[in-house]
């Protein structure tokens, strides 16, 4: 899901940088308001987890590979704005140091994986687990569904961004200038592989960690709420 340099034209790259600027600004402010020093190690662990989980490429035998992002988990534990910051840092390091995702596409990649993914995941989790106790099974289920749907939405957006390129930019000869595949190819390719395989990986990873924390440290599942309560006093 890391769009490399060259696949998106300048207009798309610029557009997503422009969209992300205010989001990053608001995220910094939101995190400044709610993050307390106790949570900093958790945020660092969340970013590191997202970084390493993306290195676990899952093969489709004879086909392509994909991976989980881990962003829904970070959003559930620390809130979507904190997750946005954590995943942005991860994506920037992946692009600059390891060439995973292009530097021109950092805006678009962050929009998909550091904004849409944690926010959708967070609110789906909140919705399904509404009013249920920290140790309820419904939380594990909610985490899984949130992971599955959020990763698939991010994959759909990535497919659309790829697929728009032949419409936006082509030479007089009809050849594409950037991503050569249109919506009819890019969207199904991205969506189907995530619906069938990679979405489940995000679902399982998210649900398992929530289950583990329920058993060993249920306080962590209430960490966000606790901070909000502290702030309202």
């Amino acid at each position: 899901m890391h769009i490399p340099d060259g696949y998106l034209g300048p207009a798309t790259c610029g557009f997503f940088y422009l969209i992300m600027l205010p989001i990053w600004t608001v995220a910094s402010r939101a995190v400044k308001k709610t993050l307390n020093a106790r949570q900093v190690p958790m945020l660092a662990i969340g970013a590191a987890f997202s970084f390493v989980i993306m290195m676990f490429n899952i093969p489709i035998p004879g086909g392509s590979t994909g991976h989980a992002v881990g962003g829904v988990l970070v959003a559930i534990l620390l809130g979507p704005w904190a997750a946005c910051i954590a995943i942005t840092v991860t994506l920037v390091i992946q692009a600059l140091l390891f060439g995973d995702g292009g530097i021109t596409a950092i805006g678009a990649n962050c929009f998909n994986m550091a904004f849409v993914l944690p926010f959708t995941g967070y609110y789906i989790y909140k919705l399904i687990s509404y009013n249920c106790p920290e140790n309820s099974k419904r939380r594990v289920f909610a985490a899984g569904i949130a992971g599955y749907l959020a990763l698939n939405l991010a994959a759909l957006l990535t497919g659309i961004e790829f697929g728009l390129q032949p419409l936006l930019h082509h030479a007089a000869s009809g050849q594409s200038l950037y991503c050569p595949y249109g919506l009819n190819v890019a969207v199904p390719a991205m969506v189907v592989e995530h619906l069938l395989i990679f979405g489940w990986v995000e679902a399982i990873v998210t649900a398992l960690v929530i289950k583990y924390l329920q058993k060993h440290d249920p306080k962590l599942l209430g960490i966000k709420k606790e901070v909000e309560d502290e702030n309202s006093h």
Binding site: H2, I3, P4, D5, G6, Y7, V31, K32, L35, N36, A37, Q39, V40, P41, M42, A44, I45, A47, A48, F49, F51, V52, M55, F56, N57, I58, P59, I60, G62, G63, S64, T65, G66, H67, I85, V89, I93, A95, L96, L97, F98, G99, D100, G102, T104, T158, F162, H169, L177, Y178, C179, P180, A186, A189, M190, E193, L213, H216, D217, L220
Partner: protein
């Protein structure tokens, strides 16, 4: 052991296991992720290299391309990249948090 400590240990285990993300795709003959092909592969697939793509794709030369897959034994290179990446990401988060977290809690 505190949960946070356990989570750090968990990260360490993930670093050690990370080469699975390299070896499993190799074993199952899976290619790169959709839309993350090199220019040679694109030429093979569509018959030409899109001009803009060719220009932009070499814009940035990362110091450790593809998580060190081609360096010093790919498994070790990959694991080293996981460790290095995590160290840098963690340092940056701690650095950012110095500016972002509430002063009265520090």
């Amino acid at each position: 052991m505190k949960t946070v400590t356990k989570l750090w240990v968990g990260l360490g285990i993930l670093i050690l296991l990370s080469p699975l993300g390299l070896l499993l795709p190799e074993h199952f003959k899976a290619q790169e992720a959709w839309g993350e092909w090199g220019t040679d592969k694109i030429k093979e697939m569509v018959g030409y290299i899109p001009r803009g793509l060719e220009k932009l794709s070499s814009l940035w030369q990362p110091p450790i391309p593809d998580y060190g897959q081609d360096r010093g034994g790919s498994v070790l290179g990959y694991m080293f990249s996981a460790l290095l990446g995590i160290l840098i990401v963690v340092s940056i988060i701690f650095l950012i948090s110095k500016f972002l977290s509430k002063k009265d809690n520090l």
